[in-house]
Symmetry: C2
Subunit: 126 residues, 2 copies
DNA sequence: TTGAACTCTCACATCCATGTGAGGGTCAAG
DNA sequence: CTTGACCCTCACATGGATGTGAGAGTTCAA
């Protein structure tokens, strides 16, 4: 499919799809007229990219991880074993991010729980 | 303490401390000569800011959360009850980020586990 | 043919987090 | 007084992610 269709199906603007290609996250083929041709699986790939960006990873980290998250049927395929050390590094970074976020989440929960009931009603009731 | 000392004690550059103030994350007093005066607790506040930035939150989200993470002795004090709805929203966003990262972490672990043993040795041995 | 829809590349712009330097004030020690 | 260390504001710069428009090519139905 072409870039407009991928954009509609994923909700991601064309400009960003070209940027992700520029960053090595997407690899569309080209038609003889120069148009990009994407695969059906690129719809999932783009969604995964958005999810990882939203989680705070940058495009360089995502470029490392993505090729190894591609699925063949139901199973994950290690398509780039040469990057195992990189994957471990990314894994460690993700683990630290999760720990940081979980620490903040716990602290936030304590604050929310400590709020006086009438404050909670006012804040959530409107 | 002044900005240079806070910078040394936290390892965070002065430029960033001024930026965090600009973004509403820090609120130093001013001496008559215009110099910033930070409190002892600002050392922990700055470390918390760095941790949240590293976890992918931006300064706007941190400005929402921070005032409610301040500690009085051992307990957390809800110093801004009017922001309870905001806190819930931030909490939800953090929860989604954690879920996204955990999904990627699991997928990454499967790829790492699936790598052939000799590839693992080569990647980690040198 | 024509026009609309779609696509291409390129370049500039914005915001964010961060880095650096200019120009100048403050103050304690010598 | 002078000096060095510290501080102030302001402005420009960088890289990343994102947004927008110019100029032009492609394709197909009317």
């Amino acid at each position: 499919m072409r870039i407009g269709e991928l954009s509609r199906r994923t909700g991601v603007h064309e400009r960003l799809l070209r940027y992700y290609e520029e960053q090595g996250l997407l690899h569309p083929r080209r038609s003889p007229n120069g148009y990009r041709e994407y695969d059906e699986e690129d719809v999932d790939t783009v969604r995964r990219i958005r999810s990882l960006l939203a989680a705070g990873l940058n495009t360089a980290a995502i470029a490392t991880i993505l090729p190894c998250l591609r699925e063949d049927g139901d199973r994950l395929v290690p398509t780039c074993p040469g990057l195992l050390a990189d994957l471990h590094r990314e894994r460690d970074r993700i683990t630290r991010s999760i720990a940081d976020l979980q620490t903040s989440l716990r602290a936030l929960d304590e604050v929310i729980a400590a709020a006086p009931p009438e404050v909670a009603r006012r804040a959530l009731g409107g």
